[in-house]
Amino acid sequence: MRNLNTNVVLEARKFSCRIAGKSILRDISLQIRRGEYISIVGPNGAGKTTLLRAFDRMLIGEISGELDICGMPWEEWKQSDLAKLAALVPQADSRVIPFTVEQFLLMCRYPYMNPFASLHPNDRKVVREAMVGTGTSAFAKRRMDTLSSGERQKVYIASALAQGAHIWLMDEPTTFLDYHHQADILSLIALANKEFDVTVVAVTHDLNHAVLESDRIIALREGELVFYGTPDLIMKPDVLKRVYGASLLLVDHPKAGLPMIVPRMTPEQDKELAKWRAKAREKMK
């Protein structure tokens, strides 16, 4: 391992990915610095998840270009060494996991474990701390598949902590959660980011969250990088049109002073839609 202290933890240069002849990512060049909070946004099918998974070396299809993880080309990493640095935090999906929370988190100490040795006391200590830190100690003895989505998402975050990873690659961490849990999870991530210098890369559909939380935002469209910069620069009608291909309504956030998106068309578009509807109604008659 070299250059572990490098300031740039993820770097892509002209990185492309094609799956079954279809171009999923095209000529992506970007740098992510240590301790940054990065959100990846973009319309459905833009390649957000593929890019996120690429940062954890989950690559399929034909790859071209370069991708460095902590200063080392992705091909050269040993899987268990990479796991000590970066962790994918999946969506709180409904996959069946037949283990208790504690068993599950202990399993995530895999990169530090020897196949024939019993658990080291340090493994238990790290897992206990991860549970305290994420507020999951209360259901340590419950089976994973009895948890709610919010609880499950917290355990997934605890697993990244237990693993000792300082790059968290999060796939829509707040989708499917109620507002209470959304707030919980977001403050948990923000805390890790601010206090423990964890680099967060999160795919999200919620541009408002992204604007409020992130240091920088990556916007993809049809596999291309259309925007990479600070949040205040993305909330502009022309930029949003470039990303989503539609004009969207913007209002000012009452406290943060940042523009917020309302998932609604602009008044002009609304008028056109009304016209089109009226025409359609007449035709029906």
């Binding site: 994918l88 599950f104 196949p115």
Partner: protein, 343 residues
Amino acid sequence: MASQGPREDEIGPGWTIGTLFGLAVLAVAWAPFWGMEHISFSALWGNVDDSNTSYILWNLRIPRVLMSFLAGAALATSGMVFQAMFRNPLATPFTLGVSSGASLGAVLCYHCGWSFALLGVSGVSVCAFIGAVFSIVLVYALTSASRQGSSTATMLLAGVAISFFFSSLILFLQYMSDPTKSFQMLRWVMGGLQNIVGFSDVLNVFAFVTSGCLIVWYLLLDLNLLSTGEDFAFSRGVNVNQVKVLLFFSVSLMVGAVVAICGPIGFVGLMAPHICRLLIGADHRRLYPATLLFGGAMLVVCDTISRTLLAPTELPVGILTALVGGPFFLGLLLARRRDLGTV
């Protein structure tokens, strides 16, 4: 559905494994003396050439019991590995075509009337082993050739398709053969341990089973993570592709060797791991020794019953494993009310 914590932590998994170990030792120690003709312990020290009972004990009974333990342990282990690896409660090497490949090899051998022996192994077993290896390689090649979708689903589907294809070839060969050969084929396909004489087969299978089991032992932590999902395991540091290939080939070869000698004995591989999961939980570091012991002991007991129940005739052991294991498993399932869908 708030479950009050897993039972395995309350009872202590050590006790369950200890009990299973005791039962397995008891079964293996008791079974050779039990049979159509009960043999006393003194036969152990008798001269094999002089005494009939000593001959039966050392050349028929003991090798057969050892073989049934090995076969049961290997089949149960293979089921446990494949269920975790494919995250599918129905996966076993049999669903992936190993048994139908072996059966096709054996049936082809009977049909063509080949009779030979290779290194002390009968021609039928050699052909069955070649058939098993052939089907393993075929399933793997088909999966690698199709580069789309999830390879796990592709592999299961390829295995099932090949299984059906081979099964119809077997039926075709049976149909085309004369009644004597046809019955030989039918008997082989039912599986059984009636052909074990002496220790040479046992030693051959032992080599395959130990190497397979050692590889599985080394990869228990990987299996735990694989059973939570491949992406998750990958991100936790498991070299997923390498581990899967290693497990697939070592376990399939182990089962291929067992099936070549004993025929396709069903149900143990599918059910023993599920029964043990209900008893001890899904953590492979506990589940593995439990499954190994339970599978071995189960087949020893079933085989002993199968050769005594209708004595002097023998009941094919595969019939018995399903007859005994099925209700036992269903009872356990109802008593525990735990979801079978969990691998």
